[in-house]
Symmetry: C2
Subunit: 157 residues, 2 copies
């Protein structure tokens, strides 16, 4: 059985792909029975689609592959704390477990702004493990935004 | 200029299509400059996709049509208060205004469990009008679940 660090490594590879494309570097992997069913990275700019976050893409791909919308038995790995849309998609698809790297204090919907995935009022809750390879996940985000600010400053000069 | 009652009527027609397919009867319409850009209804069961809610489908379709993820100028009409996933998708796509019919006290993320679409901490907020043709929207839901319970009871007998 492979461990959380291993699967988060795959999510980090996805995040790096996004980085190289100029997309906010977030990657996700969906695992069922120790098998990777889907891997994806943020594609908002490339696809001109506000819903094309890594988590939504792996959920949609898994639903398509398995021909079922209840992803019972699934663990979703993602480098950054999910936003409300993605946290809601995790609840709607009945994912069993969420593992993420680093918190998103501005928009996170697990520990930062809301807790959508473990809300007693909703009809599904999941196990959560936070902080897996968190330093690497947040370092990638920081590098991306540092570079983007630098480019913007250069353009102004 | 057509009014909210008119566009909600189109969303109700979509919800009725879902009803006839055995899908939870929720419909949505996305309008920009008094023009309907996309119409959709819930397709979770048909598409085996937990993200195939009416709101997500109209947002994705509009992004695809306009080739942009920022749906500035858009008003989204939906028969039932959006869930966390859909409310998050509305924020992520920068929709200007949300109009819905009836509240969803079990999973709504506008007035019931959370307020995702007008949260000061998030980087986008929108105008909200609730209760447009709300009785018709909720009557459709009630009829659907009543019928489903009846079928289940019949099957058990």
């Amino acid at each position: 059985m492979l461990d959380d660090n291993y699967y988060m490594g795959l999510a980090l590879e996805e995040a790096q792909k996004a980085y190289r494309m100029g997309e906010i570097p977030i990657g996700a992997v969906l695992v069922i029975n120790d098998e990777v069913v889907a891997k994806a990275h943020n594609l908002r700019e490339t696809c001109h689609d506000a819903t094309a976050h890594a988590e939504v893409i792996v959920i949609q791909e898994t639903c398509r592959k398995l021909k079922r919308w209840r992803l019972t038995g699934a663990t979703l790995y993602v480098t950054i704390e999910p936003c409300p849309m993605c946290a809601g998609a995790l609840v709607n698809s009945r994912v069993d477990r969420l593992v993420y790297g680093s918190a998103d204090y501005k928009a996170g919907a697990v520990e930062s702004l809301f807790n959508v995935v473990q809300n007693e009022a909703l009809n599904h809750r999941m196990a959560v493990t936070a902080g897996v390879r968190g330093d690497e996940c947040s370092a990638l985000m920081k590098a991306f935004f540092r570079e983007r600010r630098k480019k913007k400053t250069t353009n102004v000069d």
